[in-house]
């Protein structure tokens, strides 16, 4: 097992897994101003974590574009995407704690952001340690989901999220 940790997110990846925790570089503005020039609020880029049991290509989109197209039928790909902490107050993120023990029944092709034939997807929104997240998982084969879901569960079980560090908090 290899330990990967950054930005208050830690996970143990099994042998042969790729992982990356990066701060999103989506080009979004860090500050929003009103027409009069008043700063309404300031955001900061949030981390996103990618995990897969296959080799990442050079560049991956936040939700796996560039990687999911390369998946074989025994491959799994997971994304942990952090939203603004204010989102924890919304109904979408009311579930508390990292989802555990996913079941094959929770995976559906309709959950895929990119509807690649044969694949299957899972998506959940939750909050943990005052932080809002989306967990998105893609299986290379819907038909093999019963064999692939345990691989995902094993990694998710090792996921640790700590509260946001005050110095890095939103201004």
């Amino acid at each position: 097992m290899t330990t990967l940790a950054a930005h208050g997110i830690g996970v143990s990846t099994p042998a042969g897994w790729d992982g990356r925790i990066s701060v999103r570089r989506d080009g979004s503005a860090d500050q929003l101003f009103s027409a009069s020039g008043t700063r309404l609020f300031q955001t900061r880029s949030r981390p996103v974590m990618h995990l897969a049991n296959f080799g990442f290509p050079g560049a991956i989109g936040d939700f796996g574009s560039g990687a999911v197209e390369l998946m074989g039928e025994n491959d799994v790909f997971a994304v942990l995407f952090e939203h603004e902490p204010e989102s924890t107050a919304t109904a979408l993120f009311r579930s508390v704690g990292v989802p555990q023990n996913l079941t094959a029944r929770e995976f559906e092709p309709a959950n895929l952001r990119r509807g690649i034939p044969g694949q299957s997807g899972y998506q959940a929104f939750f909050q943990e340690s005052g932080r809002a997240f989306c967990l998105y998982v893609v299986l290379g084969s819907h038909a093999r989901r019963a064999r692939l879901v345990p691989l995902v569960n094993r990694v998710i079980a090792s996921l640790e999220i700590t509260p946001e560090i005050a110095s890095g908090a939103t201004a």
């Binding site: 042969g16 925790i21 990066s22």
Partner: protein, 263 residues
């Protein structure tokens, strides 16, 4: 005239002595560098020189022979500061690890070559560039060198795990068997391609997989033998009227649920 000839003879003799001493000194320096495992010319003494002491080094023509450390997955950071883990073990695709640095002049050619989107990686391997960790490497210099397409992991522990002592150095890993199939240094990408291709052609990759399969088969046979032996013992005990939990199986404690310490 005679005096002039004598003086010139003495001068020539002194010069011969000087040249001989310089040659001797140069030879001693080269010998010392060789013993230390360092080389100034990667192409001529590359594989022999770049490997760490105490570890069998490959022949200059091929970096593929000899026992090497077992492969490990990599963890580190990218030059952009992302935390990254690279899975090598179990991968059906071989991995070519390129240990480079920002300060090594020979590495410049590789940094440029890795910017080619159509780069042909030998052995159909996945190319991963490994530099030392940010505390041991210039991140700003790396950012200027690293092509956007390259996967770069900054990890001094990876250099230690693969026992790499200098750059450039290349390690060809077979993830299926989890072993280093070939390794060595070179001064050009073409040379690396030749070395890896030779290692694959020489059957080193296939041999490592055969060894791995044989290890797994032996482990499976041992496991089955253990289970059969256990089953035979259970049958014999059952035939004698001794079933699981029988107190006679726990003579020191009196039974499986007893709290007594064994004597």
């Amino acid at each position: 005239m005679t005096a002039l000839v004598v003086v010139l003879s003495v001068v020539v003799a002194l010069l011969v002595l000087l040249v001989a001493s310089l040659l001797r000194s140069h030879a001693e320096i080269l010998r010392t560098l060789h013993d230390a495992g360092l080389s100034h010319d990667p192409d001529t003494v590359d594989a022999e020189a770049a490997g760490p002491p105490g570890r069998r080094r490959s022949a200059p023509s091929s970096p593929t022979s000899g026992p090497s450390p077992e492969a490990t997955d990599l963890t580190g950071v990218t030059p952009e500061g992302d935390a990254v883990a690279v899975g090598i073990l179990g991968s059906p695709t071989p991995t070519l690890l390129a240990f480079l640095s920002s300060g090594c002049l020979t590495c410049r050619e590789f940094w440029e070559a890795f910017g080619d989107q159509n780069l042909a990686v030998p052995g159909d391997a996945r190319l991963v560039v490994v530099t030392m960790s940010p505390e041991d490497e210039s991140v700003s210099a790396l950012r200027r060198l690293v092509p956007a397409e390259a996967l770069v992991v900054m990890s001094t522990p990876a250099w230690e795990a693969y026992e790499v002592e200098g750059s450039p150095y290349f390690v060809f890993v077979d993830g299926m068997s989890g072993v280093v199939v070939g390794e060595g240094t070179a001064s050009s990408w073409e040379r690396v391609q030749d070395m890896v291709t030779e290692s694959v052609d020489d059957g080193a990759l296939a041999a490592s997989r055969r060894r791995s399969a044989a290890r797994k088969a032996r482990a499976a046979r041992r496991h089955l033998a253990d289970r059969e032996r256990e089953a035979r013992a259970d049958d014999a005990l059952a035939a004698a009227g001794i079933n699981p939990g029988d107190a006679s199986l726990y003579p020191a404690t009196g039974g499986p649920d007893s709290d007594a310490e064994p004597t």
